[in-house]
């Protein structure tokens, strides 16, 4: 094992949180590498000091009155109801469930409406080319390209023939 790999695994090794195979590998490396051994000692020392400081730190506690009031509130909650949904499943999960169902129904409706509507308008339904291009040949031989300026909103339609030769334009 390389020092780099050992250092990567060091935080988990320091807390005995590696699997047996890796634990053996890191232990063997640390046994043979003074730099990694020092690193491990420092890490363990820092974590143990942190834990000691955290344990000694004052954390809030319940006053007896608060605790009793909480227990009374809990008991009151049962009396109110069985009717009250479990906060765990009921209140938290029902809206998600309802939203998912609504979304599913919407998607279903959209798919159904797309299927019932049938195919879109065919080439026969397309508008005729402008009169100005009547001499450009048969309608299906004309290709139009519409350019829209985002700044001015101006539209220009270019008409091209089947060989993509320019045939005219219309604003």
């Amino acid at each position: 094992m390389t020092c780099r790999k050992a250092c990567k695994l060091m935080p988990l090794f320091a807390g005995d949180d590696l699997g047996p195979r890796r634990t053996r590998a890191v232990r063997a490396h640390v046994g043979a590498c003074p730099a990694c051994r020092r690193e491990l000692e420092e890490l363990r020392e820092a974590l143990s000091r942190f834990k000691a400081a955290a344990t000694a730190e004052s954390v809030p506690d319940w006053s007896e009155g608060e605790w009793k009031a909480l227990m009374v509130r809990a008991a009151g909650g049962t009396a109110r109801g069985g009717a009250e949904k479990g906060a765990w499943g009921g209140r938290a999960l029902l809206p998600r469930w309802a939203a998912a169902s609504a979304l599913g129904a919407l998607i279903g409706l959209a798919v159904l409406s797309a299927l019932l509507r049938g195919p879109g308008p065919g080439p026969a339904d397309r508008p005729e080319p402008p009169l100005a291009l009547a001499d450009a040949g048969r309608a299906q031989d004309v290709v139009s390209m519409t350019m829209v300026s985002q700044e001015t909103g101006l539209q220009i339609v270019w008409f091209l023939d089947r060989n993509f030769d320019y045939k005219g334009e219309q604003e």
Binding site: D17, E42, F50
Partner: protein, 179 residues
């Protein structure tokens, strides 16, 4: 008894965990007031959900799970509130009204250095670190409480320990010097 609906049996059941749950809530929220509310809500939810408690599980870990979820929800809504407050404060400043000097600081507490070191961790890292290293759950229990994989716990734990070590080096050099 409590599973069969006897409310008076609930108190002896949860009393051994009143301190640990409040401590967990405090370490996750880093605010005494929030911690108290989180712990209260966790106990109330536990009571209401007792019917769904899986008897094969550890009751303590189940309580921890409820408290950790509650703390996460609390932190999320606090973050949203803070963002809304900051947006409102920015608008107020833009409109020429000076923000109240104490605004936003009302609930801030003087935090100990330890808590500042925990601040260096991301949400998941802090949850994993607090449960594994301070509450002393093992990796599997921690994963179960947090509803994630053991691999995720290991990844976050490794990163959290590394950051804590760096924070101690940076903020508590005297601890290093004592070596």
């Amino acid at each position: 008894m409590v599973l069969s609906g006897r409310a008076e049996a609930f108190e002896p059941l949860v009393t051994p965990y009143r301190g640990p749950i409040l401590a967990l809530a405090y370490r996750l929220t880093r605010d005494r007031e929030d911690a108290r509310e989180v712990a209260q809500e966790a106990f109330l939810k536990a009571f209401r959900s007792l019917g769904r408690f899986d008897l094969s599980r550890s009751f303590r870990n189940w309580l921890f799970q409820i408290a950790a979820n509650e703390a996460r929800d609390r932190l999320r809504s606090a973050k949203r509130e803070r963002a809304a407050f900051e947006a409102a404060a920015r608008e107020g400043t833009a409109a020429g009204t000076a923000p109240a000097p104490e605004a936003g600081r009302e609930r801030r507490e003087t935090r100990s250095g330890i808590m500042r070191a925990l601040d260096a961790l991301g949400r998941r890292e802090r949850e994993v670190f607090v449960l594994r290293d301070l509450q002393e759950l093992d990796i599997r229990e921690t994963a179960r409480v947090l509803g994630c994989s053991s691999i995720s716990v290991r990844v976050n734990l490794s990163s959290a320990r590394r950051k804590i070590r760096e924070a101690i080096r940076r903020d508590f050099p005297h601890l290093e010097e004592q070596r």
